[in-house]
């Protein structure tokens, strides 16, 4: 055996040279980062804050839309099952909570098929367009005071402009599939969405007259206070028309003719499979959330709580609550508390569990105590955040109200039969459109009357 001449081991040959290199390169790199790259990055960020904010908002909205869609799909399965006296999904996680997520993974693993003769580019990109329009609408939805992707002063105009683009996506999907049923489905959905776009937009014009602004943020701000400050009480007809037209816009029952799953194949989505179909499917549920969010924003008080909390607090005799606690003042006692309090609290919370469940082992009681402590701490932190930060309270109320409307959408799907296509179109043009116009004229007349009478 010819032994290697080098006496050094593997460590000696690899690690020590690397260490040397690191010792030389590291300080140089640190100095370089601190003097050149760091200021450059800060400068770029500073001069492009708007773009950065936009990119962050887009990323946030994209990231938000996926769990929202999953939750709504799960909610639909479960709520409709409960209304049918069934149990619904119950296999993945307790109560089948991850059912829709697993279904989404399944869609990801499926074959992504493009039929012969299909227009490949359009076929590939139309689901993206549909999904993108849905997600882009999120940009102007205010989730709370200041929690808006792009605070446009023409938010409503943007909303209807971008929302109308989804028709193009649906039409392209139907057209590029090289299938007459897909094409028919695309045309039907285009006819439906375009027809309902008009009452949808007109129903909001009355509200715009009242609010005097196109900014969604400002519309939300004007509804602060009590329940009766919400626009639904000043524009009941507008709210109703907006709701009905919104149901049709989101292609939901009883207006889900385009993809009536029990009657026709899948409308414009006939030829789609795999994740492209997933995109179309996702877009539908994102649309449901957006419609609920818009109804809440425009007619049901946006992020505002139904009660005026400050008024209530003043009634009780407490000023606006805020927690002024400086951890620095506590010094070493803070350290001691941080070490002792969790342990003590766990034991205290575990004690009743242990006493009530004697036949269980003690470690289970300890675990229960620990979990209870976590819940308690989370609750306290949540309460503090709710009290201290406007946007947390706004987000909570906004989500709560939005999901109430999502529930109503699902509830309607569990209840109503589908309408015929001629009934659908007739309803849009013969009832909703005149009603929207009536609403607009009555609102305008009332505003003029009040202004001329000098009442404010």
């Amino acid at each position: 055996m010819n032994r290697s001449a080098s006496p050094a081991s593997l460590i000696g040959r690899v690690v020590i040279p690397l260490l040397l290199i690191a010792l030389v390169v590291g300080p140089v790199a640190v100095v370089f980062l601190a003097t050149v790259i760091g200021p450059w990055v800060v400068g770029v960020v500073n001069s492009n804050l708007g773009i950065l904010r936009f990119v962050l908002a887009i990323a946030g909205v994209l990231l938000f839309s996926i769990p929202a869609a999953f939750i709504i799909i799960y909610m639909e399965l479960k709520v409709i099952a409960y209304m049918n006296l069934r149990v619904g999904p119950n296999r993945v996680l307790p109560a089948g909570a991850a059912h829709s997520v697993v279904a989404g993974l399944k869609v990801l693993t499926k074959e992504d098929f493009t039929p012969n003769g299909a227009d490949r580019i359009v076929f590939t990109w139309s689901p993206v367009l549909v999904f993108l329009t849905a997600v882009m609408t999120f940009m102007v939805v205010p989730f709370g005071p200041g929690l808006v992707g792009a605070p446009l002063n023409i938010g409503l105009l943007y909303l209807f402009a971008v929302g109308g683009m989804s028709v193009v996506g649906l039409l392209l999907a139907g057209w590029s599939s090289f299938n007459k049923y897909s094409l028919l489905g695309g045309l039907r959905s285009a006819a439906q969405v375009v027809s309902y776009e008009i009452p949808l937009t007109l129903s909001v014009v009355g509200l715009i007259l009242l609010a005097g602004t196109l900014s969604i943020d400002s519309i939300g701000r004007q509804q602060a206070g009590w329940v009766w400050d919400w626009f639904v009480f000043r524009q009941p007809l507008g709210a109703l028309i907006f709701f009905i037209a919104g149901v049709a816009e989101a292609n939901r029952t009883p207006f889900d003719l385009t993809e009536a799953d029990s009657e026709i194949v899948a409308g414009f989505a006939t030829e789609y499979s795999g994740m492209r179909f997933g995109f179309l499917f996702f877009a539908e549920y994102v649309n449901v959330f957006i419609m609920s969010a818009l109804i809440v924003t425009m007619f049901f008080g946006a992020w505002n709580a139904p009660v005026d909390v400050n008024w209530l607090l003043r009634l009780v005799g407490v000023g606006p609550l805020s927690i002024n606690l400086d951890p620095g003042q506590l010094g070493s006692s803070l350290m001691a508390a941080a070490a002792v309090v969790p342990l003590l609290a766990t034991l205290i919370l575990a004690a009743p569990v242990y006493l009530l469940r004697r036949h269980r082992p003690a470690w289970q009681a300890l675990l229960a105590g620990f979990l209870l402590l976590n819940l308690l701490v989370l609750g306290v932190i949540g309460l503090a955040a709710y009290m201290d930060w406007d946007w947390v309270a706004g987000l909570v109320w906004f989500m709560l109200k939005s999901f109430v409307f999502v529930f109503v959408f699902v509830w309607m799907r569990a209840t109503f039969p589908r309408v015929r296509i001629d009934q659908l179109m007739g309803f849009a043009w013969k009832w909703l459109l005149p009603a929207a116009l009536l609403n607009l004229f009555v609102t305008a007349f009332a505003i003029v009357l009040i202004k001329s009478a000098g009442i404010n």
Partner: protein
């Protein structure tokens, strides 16, 4: 109540919401199993076909499976050839033999074979003649046939279909859709029981069978 538009929608929504909170009917099989009586055999039902005749083929499977042996049945078989009865294995083997022949496609040698519900069709032919066998006059023809026979016999409907060229489905559809047309005799007591026409032949067959059996027993 019903005059308020949208009230139906509200009532429907209310119904589904009450369902939402009601206990669920699902049984979590296989973790849970329904509490089924050991001798439960599902729902028993006698079905009728579109002519109103029993779909029962007198195969006795139900009587055989009956856990408490409460089914006692007897009657003519579907083609009105044999008088059968559930009990000792008197006619059962014979019937199975005959059905095997029929399923093989060979003609069943049976002198007593006659078509179901054959009637005198001269009245139908006259009515068809009067209407020039025009299928557009389907309803008046049906009404006249009913006037002639008291009801619409299946054989008459077949004849009407064959002569006029109207699809049997059309004729049958018209006959069943109008309330005043009926496919059964107006009173059941007035009509002869099914298979009355074959009683004589059946008696002859039974006599021959008895003779053969007795002969065998005697030998």
């Amino acid at each position: 109540m019903t005059t308020i538009p949208g009230m139906g929608l509200v009532r429907g929504m209310g119904l589904t919401l009450t369902r939402f909170f009601q206990p669920k009917a699902t049984i979590m099989w296989p973790e849970q199993q329904a509490d089924v009586a050991p001798k439960f055999r599902g729902r028993l039902q006698l079905l009728h076909d579109e002519y109103g005749t029993l779909k029962c083929e007198t195969c006795f499977q139900c009587a055989q499976a009956c856990p408490v042996e409460c089914i006692d049945m007897g009657g003519m078989d579907t083609r009105g050839r044999f008088h059968v009865h559930w009990g000792p294995a008197e006619t059962y083997g014979e019937r199975r033999d005959e059905s095997a022949t029929r399923r093989s496609g060979r003609p069943v040698a049976d002198p007593t074979f006659t078509r179901f519900g054959a009637i005198d069709l001269s009245a139908v032919d006259e009515i068809l003649e009067a209407h020039d066998s025009d299928p557009r006059a389907l309803l008046p023809m049906l009404e006249e046939i009913q006037a002639a026979y008291g009801y619409l016999p299946v054989a008459a409907l077949k004849q009407l279909s064959r002569k006029s060229g109207a699809w049997y489905a059309t004729v049958y559809g018209a006959a069943t859709s109008y309330r005043h047309l009926r496919l059964e005799p107006p009173t059941l007591t007035a009509a002869a029981p099914a298979g009355e026409g074959h009683k004589a032949a059946e008696a002859g067959f039974l006599a021959a069978l008895d003779a053969a059996l007795i002969g065998k027993a005697g030998a």
